[in-house]
């Protein structure tokens, strides 16, 4: 059984998270401020931490910094602060994910699972089946058997969606415009391109992202094109 340390000064929120995560088969250790979290972290073997930012005593940011001094377990920050600067700060100081309040319980669970899989996988990376495999973070494309996995979960894509994703993953970080994608995938000149590519992209995003509105892999560069973010 995997231990998850949940820390928030709002007891009801901790309680709710406890219910969701216990339902998914995790063991939850509860803490209500930063100091308590650090103590419990020492006493127990913790596999993942969920931390609120605004807490009395030691806040989430400082707690994360403290934890990072000794441990590399996944940390998900859960905060009411939803500005970009807050997210960037949280991720920069060592958090692995950032979820804003109020959150969707299903999303939280999905993200916890994702982080957990990646964390436990780190040791047996080499045991991946041989073949033409493109990886990008938790996203993996096996071109031999046309299989796409996100955090080891198999994703089902249509052939066009698969081709688009493969094109983007192969050129990780490069931005493709709609016309470029169209020409590459359909092999014909893009005259009067329509919404087709954008719709396909949206579908891919819905399949591979936990929250399609805040994509992790397939990012929209508005007014320019699409790209797979370098992890």
């Amino acid at each position: 059984m995997q231990n998850i340390l949940v820390c928030d000064d709002d007891k009801q929120i901790v309680e709710a998270i406890d219910i969701y995560l216990t339902g998914e088969g995790f063991h939850v250790i509860k803490a209500y401020d930063g100091f308590e979290a650090l103590e419990l972290l020492e006493e127990n073997e913790v596999d993942l931490m969920i931390l609120d930012v605004m807490m009395p005593g030691l806040d989430g940011i400082r707690t994360t910094l403290k934890v990072r001094e000794t441990s590399s377990i996944p940390i998900i920050i859960l905060s009411a602060k939803s500005e970009d600067t807050d997210k960037i700060l949280g991720l920069n100081i060592g958090a692995d994910d950032y979820i804003t309040k109020p959150f969707n319980p299903l999303e939280l669970v999905a993200r916890v699972k994702s982080q957990m899989r990646r964390y436990t996988q780190l040791g047996n990376m080499n045991q991946q089946p041989a073949g033409q495999i493109y990886k990008c973070g938790g996203l993996a494309i096996n071109d031999d058997n046309k299989e796409v996995t996100v955090d080891d979960e198999i994703i089902k894509l249509t052939p066009i969606e698969y081709n688009i994703l493969l094109l983007l993953v192969k050129n990780e970080g490069k931005v493709f415009s709609i016309d470029e994608i169209y020409e590459q995938i359909w092999n014909e000149e893009a005259i009067g391109a329509d919404n087709t590519v954008a719709v396909h992209i949206r579908h891919i995003r819905e399949k591979i992202e936990i929250n399609p509105r805040e994509p992790r892999y397939l990012k929209v560069v508005w007014g320019v094109g699409y790209k797979i973010e370098k992890q």
Binding site: I13, A16, A80, A198, G223, G225
Partner: protein, 756 residues
Amino acid sequence: MKKRKEKAILAHLLFSLLVVIGVSVMYNNTHYGEGIGWIANESYEDTPEFSGQLKSDIDDIFNYVKYKEVFETNGKLDYSKFIIRVADGPGTTKDFTLDEMIRHAKSQGYYLNEQFKVSGGHPNNKTGEELNYQVVYRAYEPDFKAAEPGDSFQSIDQLSYEVLSHLGNYYRFYYRFIQNPGNLKFEIQYQNTDKDYKLYTNFPGKTVDEFKSLGKYLYVTGEALYVDSNLTSVPKNVSPELEKMNPYNNGNYHMSVAVDTSYPYKDAYYQAAESYDQMRLFFIIGMICLALGILGCAATLYMMVLLTGAPEEQNPSPLMQRMDRLPAEISLVLYFAASGIALLVSQLIFFKIIHLFLSTEDWYYGELVLKVLILYVTGVSAVLNILKQYKSGVLWKNSLLNKGLRTLLLYFKHHRFTTRIMITYSLFLIFNVVMIMAFSFLLFTYNDLESRILMGAVAFLFLLLDLWVFHQMYKNAWQTDQINQALLNISNGNTTYKIDTKLFYGKERELAENINHISTGLETALQEKVRSERLKADLITNVSHDIKTPLTSIINYVDLIKREKIQDPRIQGYLEVLEQKSQRLKTLTEDLVEASKASSGNLKLDMTSIDFVELIYQTNGEFEEKFALRHLELVSTLPDDAMLIEADGRYLWRVLENLYNNAFKYAMEHSRVYVDIMKEEENILFTIKNISENPLNIRADELTERFVRGDVARTTEGSGLGISIAKSLTELQGGQFQLYIDGDLFKATVAFPLKK
């Protein structure tokens, strides 16, 4: 401490006295007026006076040589000597001896005084009959030739007078150089043979070297062409005169003249030398006194200047305080009056005292010294008084000039601009008219040099004033320009603009300062507004954070209840409402934060080149399926080419997202939504049009206001901030956002300048 100033004053007086002494000694010196060069001659023998004296004495020696032949026989005065021959008839002559002539002179009352000058009257100018003697020969003037025949006729009185005066000359010399021993020694010898010679001397039997050893000497021989002498200037006529006197036809003669510079005899040389040394000493002492006095005066004056108005003088006597408070002009007038009175008093009293002590020729000098002293004392006191006022900083404040100017300024300062212009222009006009009149008057009345110069001066003054007026006008115009510039800047929103009021004067300065106040006020108000806007944004952000935490619990627990799989449809309905409303609250708080940030400009923009067409494709892709849910058909008309603009992609997407969402929420089902991009001049114009499901009983501008929406829509899921956020974000990125409502037609346009 006050003693120090008194000491300084005392010292100054003493030094002044020293100056007076020095000047007096120098002024009363016999050598006054010869400049300073004369003291360079260390002794009397080097001076021109000595040379002059010696030259006149040498002339006398030659005279003596002449007279000796005339009046003496064997070295003695011979009264029986023939002296004058006259023709008293045709062919007959008559001779007169010295004795006869002298006796005649005596009978006429003529005699020789102590100076050996003829006294006792003068022979009258006789008429023709009396001039009965034609002088044939005069022993003392053997070469006399009458220029006109009449000139040789003389009366016996005139002849005797003439003889007596020549005898006087002879006596004088004889008395000075032969009879009484003197410092001047001479020897003249003409030699024909050993026996036949003529010797004139008062220093007999001495060699040339003995002459030379006396001091200053002169030695001339018939053979040598030069004059052997140690004099600073040798009389030029010595050699010719000597040759002229030579009775023999040879060069065997010599002349030795020497002055015994030890001055054993108290004669004219002795007195002159003595006086010279004394005067020289006095003169030098005088100079030293003067120099010391001037130095001392300067030093003590400096001390007085330093000590005047010094802190230790802060508690002077009440009288002095009152004196110091007087306006400078009045002080000056008082000092003038004081010096005038002092001069008058001195004229009445002290001049008389001076007259008692000094000889007549020194009166003028004494009076002058006194006058100068009085003027000096009052002058220095006046200057020190002014200095004191200056040091205590009240000179200008107390002065009448200042008070007058201030009174005068009253006529100018507190008037309106128009009045001021009127007054100054009138003054200018009057001055000009007066000047022109004066100029023409001078031009037509006088034409000599002085009036020309005066005219020139008048013209110059005239020009100067007109230039000054021009300068003032220019300055005024410049100030107006500056004020205009400032107002332009402020009206353009640059509220930090300030006028440098140092460059302004008078009423314009007031104006400039007021403008500065206005801009400061505007700036403060603006900053206050920005600050309060930011505070509001912060407040909204913080409140929304505080709302989000309980909201999280609500949403989570509603979800948890839902998971309990309650079968009761009523409770399921309640839960539906709870879920919907809590979700609405969530969007509301998020939109609220975004709206406040967008409207306060509290966002960091990352402006890049964006293809608007690509963005529309992307957005269409995002919304196509969503629109299909409400059976909305998306009809887009887009250009084939890329349309580049400068914007932040994320925020422009938010604009479009809000507009598309708006259409999605409020468009009538089964209708079409039109999206197109047009190039209009330099702008790219994006338009989205749809038909509203509900009547739009609202003005377009109200729609962009926060929280304002069509009534009916209030029950739906939106926050009502979408359009407002879209407008704010568009404008933040430099675009233009407009709404049109025409019946049920809802149209929104977003325009951005096309990037070149």
